[in-house]
């Protein structure tokens, strides 16, 4: 029976072990050792790196990063869900084309796209030029939280839309009809039927946006002008500039822990048939 299909995952389990678990173990090893050693025999174990993480300075950075990622994720969700919904309603003949058109901008190099945003948002940028032409004063669009969020949403939106679209496509239309039949208007039907049924897709989308957004560093650097420190930049700098791999590893591990814990909370809402069928309503 289906049980046998478990075996399909076994190669990947091995792959995971080699390419994901081993490296993480390595990172973990770095995080609990001190820098001084180059010789295996003289490894010094320490928890100092973790202690250091709990410095208010880094906690602040972490919280700020998570906040930013959360806001971006929510915006992606709010903007992306309707897109996914509309695409899923497009005639099957054109659907894949629209999908491709949708992701095509992402195939242009991210640095170039971000530079283009700088050109659009800058003090002398396209938008401000346009405003000036209308006789309006310039506004500061670049190098603040909004520009970071614009950049994040721009870059991650497709990762929200695609899985939701997947979940919505071929959804059993009769269920929507049944809901309408029972007196639910479009809004209620959406909230009570369509959304719950597409929840697995939404969750995938949230993961695909939230997780990379927390650790993203190019966007805060370019569009935020590095005016605030985010955890991605912190880790990047720790590894490259300072060469403090040990503390960098500890920060990375802590971040993983925090995110995985919050994800497992989110996952509770996933209506998994194996579970006792937790209720959303």
């Amino acid at each position: 029976m289906n049980k046998k299909q478990k075996f399909f995952a076994y190669p990947y389990v091995i792959w995971m072990f080699i390419f994901i678990v081993l490296p993480i173990v390595l990172v973990f090893l770095y995080s609990i050792t001190t820098k001084e050693v180059n010789n295996i025999k003289t490894i010094n174990f320490t928890l100092n790196n973790y202690k250091l993480f709990f410095d208010p300075l880094y906690i602040g950075v972490t919280i700020r990063s998570i906040n930013l990622a959360l806001v971006s994720t929510i915006l992606c969700l709010v903007l992306g869900y309707p897109i996914a919904y509309i695409i899923s309603k497009i005639h099957s003949k054109h659907r894949n084309t629209v999908l491709l058109l949708f992701i095509l901008p992402m195939w242009m190099n991210m640095l170039l796209r971000t530079y283009a945003w700088m050109t659009i948002l800058g003090n002398n940028g396209i938008i401000n030029n346009f405003l000036n032409m209308l006789g309006l004063p310039s506004i500061r669009l670049l190098y603040n939280n909004s520009s970071i969020i614009i950049g994040m949403v721009y870059n991650f939106l497709p990762f929200m839309v695609l899985p939701i679209y997947t979940a919505l496509s071929k959804m059993d239309q009769h269920l929507v009809e049944a809901s309408h039949d029972l007196g639910a208007d479009n809004r209620t039907t959406f909230l009570k039927v369509i959304l719950p049924l597409s929840l697995p897709g939404v969750i995938s989308g949230i993961i695909m946006v939230f997780m990379p957004a927390v650790s993203s560093f190019v966007i805060p650097r370019l569009l935020g002008g590095n005016r605030s420190l985010y955890i991605g930049t912190l880790i990047e700098n720790l590894f490259l500039v300072t060469g403090d791999w040990n503390f960098g590893s500890a920060v990375a591990i802590m971040m993983m822990l925090i995110i995985l814990v919050s994800m497992s909370i989110l996952n509770r809402f996933d209506v998994d048939k194996e579970g006792s069928g937790s209720n959303l309503w």
Binding site: L175, E177, S179, H180, D181, G183, D185, N186, K273, L280
Partner: protein
């Protein structure tokens, strides 16, 4: 029974081809109306138009005298029991049934009570927390009924709501539905394949074929006075025999002339004679109007069904007594039992 609550005027529906053609029909308040017809004749499509899930290609739909062509389903005071149930897989039984009530912002206490009542009604007490997937086919069907009934709609559309239930439960549910209809005053538009069900429960039966209405009438009318051979053939099993209407009250078929109760046909008109199998009495060969040989006999529980070859025709006869194959028998019937229908072309 009061005024027309629903009226269909010249409703047509085209997909690639026309599947409903100029349907004219009204349903009175508190009426129990059944759509009957062969598979694919357009019953579900008609219900879907009533429910608002499908727009008619042509024609108008009225509810309480108002055109509701453009009223969305959730604004129609109509609930549906879907042919394929359409239960919400992400909700348990309790929440499936409570769905409509929650939308009306009914209090939790009342919802609990009502759900319990409905579960009892459909014989599924204690199933509140079960998942839809874990139910048997018949159990799912009953939940679908409960989910629609609990809302006490003005009009209830039921698309073969009892098809997956066994005889006993079906009878129980028929009684319950009938009871609810009277008690709460719901108008029923019902689709069923079970002819006995249609005849037992309905005030009005609508026989459809190929997207067109063939006959509208009371069960007794439909059964006893089918307007054409299609209806006669479709409703119950019939022997439809070519004949000639010699004059009023006199008809010739199977080589003999019989008295009958029909009149008003032109002289010597070619007609169809309908003889119901259960109206024919099997008697010793010499006592029968028509003589023949039994060619098959099947046990049907309530009765035996036998086929008697009378030379030019095979006549179906039902009787609680069994004859053996190859017996010679005679067949008798009264003038009442002979139904005359004008011939027309009808396709199946």
């Amino acid at each position: 029974m009061g005024n027309k609550i629903i009226e269909l005027k010249n409703i047509s529906k085209d997909y690639d081809v026309r599947v409903l053609n100029k349907i004219n029909l009204y349903v009175n308040e508190n009426e129990f109306l059944t759509l009957l017809g062969p598979s694919g004749c357009g019953k579900t499509t008609t219900l879907r138009i009533l429910g608002g899930f499908e727009y008619p290609t042509e024609g108008d739909l009225f509810f309480d005298g108002k055109n509701i062509n453009n009223v969305p389903p959730y604004k129609r005071q109509i609930n549906t029991v879907f042919q394929k149930y359409a239960l919400f897989p992400h909700l348990n039984i309790y929440e499936n049934i409570a769905f409509g009530l929650r939308i009306k912002k009914t209090g939790d206490g009342i919802i609990k009570e009502e759900v319990k009542r409905m579960l009892k009604l459909v014989n599924l007490e204690g199933f509140e927390n079960r998942e839809i997937d874990s139910l048997s086919g018949g159990q799912q069907q009953r939940i679908a009924i409960a989910r629609a009934l609990v809302n006490k709609p003005k009009v209830l559309l039921l698309d073969e709501p009892l098809g997956a239930l066994d005889l006993k439960l079906r009878k129980e549910m028929q009684l319950e539905l009938k009871h609810m209809q009277r008690e709460v005053g719901i108008t029923f538009v019902y689709v069923t394949h079970d002819q006995e069900e249609a005849l037992t429960m309905s005030d009005t039966v609508v026989v459809m074929n190929n997207g067109e209405i063939q006959q509208i009438g009371t069960p007794v009318d439909i059964y006893n006075e089918p307007e054409n051979a299609f209806v006669a053939d479709f409703i119950g099993e019939s022997n439809i025999i070519d004949g000639i209407m010699n004059e009023d009250y006199l008809v010739t078929f199977l080589g003999r002339t019989f008295k009958c109760v029909d009149y008003g046909f032109p002289r010597n008109e070619n007609i169809h004679v309908v003889l119901r199998p259960e109206d024919i009495v099997m008697v010793p060969e010499n006592e029968g109007y028509i003589k023949g040989t039994v060619t098959s006999t099947i046990f049907k529980g309530v009765h035996y069904e036998m086929i008697v070859n009378v030379g030019t025709f095979e006549i179906l006869v039902q009787s609680t007594y069994q004859s053996s194959v190859d017996d010679r028998v005679g067949l008798k019937f009264t003038p009442d039992d002979i139904h005359i229908m004008s011939k027309e072309t009808w396709s199946e």
